[in-house]
């Protein structure tokens, strides 16, 4: 992956964002820009504020300071469902699926916003609702093929192994046809094969659908392979930004990860 994939247009810009819970500062004065169609990574040690940053982007948290522009539009207080309406989808660090439902229905739930037929027809499953359901169903089947989860179509997701649950969750996010896809540790707890599959999916999504992807991940090999640009957070502050090569050689990053011996 390289720069030719970038159009250079900014999709999301984060300006001077600060977030605090009571006296605890989760994020301090964070700035960065995400360009259209890139794969952008956020890394940092545990508790650095990575997930908080994602929660700010999709509206779970409201920062006390700073501005976010998405698709050129300013937004400050935004609720999660509004973020979804605008085209931001996400997955969660601890898989958040609808455990009682099958794989198929979980991914169908991602089509929630695309269902437009009125409630009356939907209840009767007739007329426009039927046509709409078929179209959405087709879309969902394509995602199921894409993620190679045909075999677990009807399985209640609560019964699936962790790796597959993560894949279903990714499918649900894809069903929203997002412009910006936020992935919170998509490979945590996976074995090497599962990780390789997941990497392949992420690259394919980026290429085939042109989806912009923001990725939080602890596996440095994965991050350096996948991402075009990344930022590094530590204690809620941005300590570095750049492409993988620049980050690898950055002394502040090495210090943050390995710890620094403080000499008096």
């Amino acid at each position: 992956m390289s720069a030719e994939n970038n159009t250079g247009d900014v999709l999301l810009s984060v300006d001077h964002i600060s977030l605090a819970f009571g006296g605890v500062k989760a994020l301090t004065d964070i700035n960065f820009e995400i360009r259209k169609k890139e794969i952008f990574a956020i890394i940092g040690p545990n508790g650095a504020g990575k997930t908080s940053m994602l929660n700010v982007i999709n509206g779970f948290y409201h920062p006390q300071d700073g501005e976010i522009h998405f698709k050129g539009l300013h937004r400050k207080q935004m609720r999660p469902h509004e973020a979804a309406v605008q085209g931001i989808a996400r997955t969660f660090q601890n898989v958040a699926l609808f455990k009682g439902m099958s794989t198929l229905n979980n991914i169908m739930a991602g089509r929630n916003l695309k269902m437009k037929a009125n409630l009356f027809w939907q209840a009767l499953y007739y007329g426009p609702a039927r046509k709409e359901e078929m179209e959405n169903r087709k879309f969902v089947e394509d995602i199921i093929d894409f993620l190679e989860i045909q075999a677990i179509r009807r399985t209640p997701v609560g019964k699936l192994p962790y790796g597959l649950q993560k894949r279903v969750e990714l499918g649900r996010a894809l069903a929203m046809e997002p412009e910006l896809l936020l992935l919170d540790e998509p490979m945590a707890g996976m074995n090497i094969e599962e990780k390789q599959d997941m990497c392949r999916f992420i690259l394919d999504i980026n290429e085939q659908y042109g989806t912009t992807i923001v990725l939080i991940e602890h596996d440095m090999g994965v991050v350096m392979d996948l991402s075009e640009r990344l930022i590094v957070l530590d204690y809620g502050r941005k300590i570095a930004e750049g492409n993988p090569d620049e980050i690898r050689g950055n002394q502040a990053v090495i210090d943050a990860y390995l710890g620094v011996a403080h000499t008096n």
Binding site: N58, F60, R79, P80, H81, A84, V85, A89, R90, F92, A96, L97, F98, K99, G100, M101, N105, M108, A109, G110, N112, L113, M115, L119, Q122, A123, L124, Y125, A129, G158, R172, A173, A175, M176
Partner: protein, 316 residues
């Protein structure tokens, strides 16, 4: 020995002996049961969407019926009072979401439960303040509900027309709601919310809208129950007691299951009438009041998640 016969043998002889009477008892039980089902349905909806046991469900029944009757007493024709009452129930749902739920998001369930207790007392006070505290007659006639009775088998089986109407309306309401919840976008969103708030939010479900919708539907159910129950007795605050009958129904059916609420309601309704009629005299009668709770208690020993409830399995 005689006592055992009276418990285990005689009642069944009585049933076979006079099947028409048995049928009558079952019918009475069915009519009560279907109303229990409706009330339980209201509970289940709110429980699924917000994980809170809505203590105010019973008072909502009274409040809806009181608004309807009160408006009519003040000179509003019945068929205008009905839509106005529906609007009032919507306003109630909207205010509950805005003033109570929204500020209590992410609080422990017990806090929300306390809030619904608060809501109960508010509605009692508010209802009394506006419409007065004395019992009122339901405006059965004005709503064109029938009040005759039909008899079968040489007057041995008597069915009140109002009961038939109540059952038909309740069944229709339950079917419409089942379709609505099973097939529509809101229904699917509701199931999503019931499963995982955060995930539901992330796929674009608005929690606030869902809450207003479920409280409004519960309000409509309360109105239907209030009309039907009010027609059988009268409209007073004592009516809210019937909501507690929904508790054994929910234990039987499972707090999260819509079919459970319906089947549970019927089991409790029919069970307590049969119990009262064939066994009640053994202990001096009036077991109808507590039999339902006993059934629920026994049930808790063997199937705590209810007939249809989800068994909660935590994977560690």
């Amino acid at each position: 020995m005689e006592f055992l016969t009276a418990i285990f043998i005689q009642p069944f002889f009585d049933m076979v002996d006079d099947p028409v009477l048995f049928l009558q008892v079952i019918w009475e039980g069915f009519v009560t049961g279907i109303l229990y089902s409706l009330i339980a349905f209201g509970f289940v909806l709110i429980f699924k969407a917000s994980g809170v046991f809505n203590f105010a469900q019973g008072i909502m029944v009274v409040f809806a019926a009181l608004t309807l009757v009160g408006l009519h007493e003040n000179g509003v024709p019945a068929f205008i009072a009905l839509p106005i009452t529906i609007v009032v129930m919507y306003a109630l749902a909207f205010s509950v979401e805005r003033l109570v739920l929204r500020s209590l998001v992410n609080q422990p369930d017990i806090i929300l439960f306390m809030a619904t207790i608060g809501l109960t007392f508010f509605l009692i006070g508010f209802g009394e303040f506006i419409f007065g505290g004395e019992p009122k007659m339901m405006i059965t006639e004005e709503l064109l509900l029938p009040y005759d009775s039909i008899t079968f088998f040489d007057d041995m089986l008597i069915l009140q027309e109002i009961d038939i109407a109540a059952s038909v309306i309740a069944v229709i309401a339950l079917i419409i709601l089942a379709l609505f919840l099973g097939k529509t976008k809101i229904g699917i969103a509701l199931r999503a919310v019931a499963d995982d708030h955060q995930a539901a939010l992330s796929v674009g479900v608005s929690l606030n809208t869902i809450w207003v919708v479920v409280w409004f539907i519960s309000g409509i159910i309360a109105l239907i129950t209030g009309i039907m129950w009010g027609a059988k007795s009268d409209v007073s605050f004592a009516l809210s007691i019937i909501a507690f009958k929904a508790l054994p129904v929910l234990i039987l059916g499972g707090f999260t299951s819509v079919p459970g609420a319906i089947v549970g309601g019927l089991i409790i309704g029919i069970g307590e009438k049969i119990g009262e009629f064939y066994w009640g005299h053994l202990v001096g009668g009036s077991i109808e009041g507590w039999l339902a709770y006993m059934i629920a208690l026994v049930f808790l020993f063997f199937r705590p998640q209810g007939l249809f409830g989800e068994k909660i399995i935590e994977r560690v």
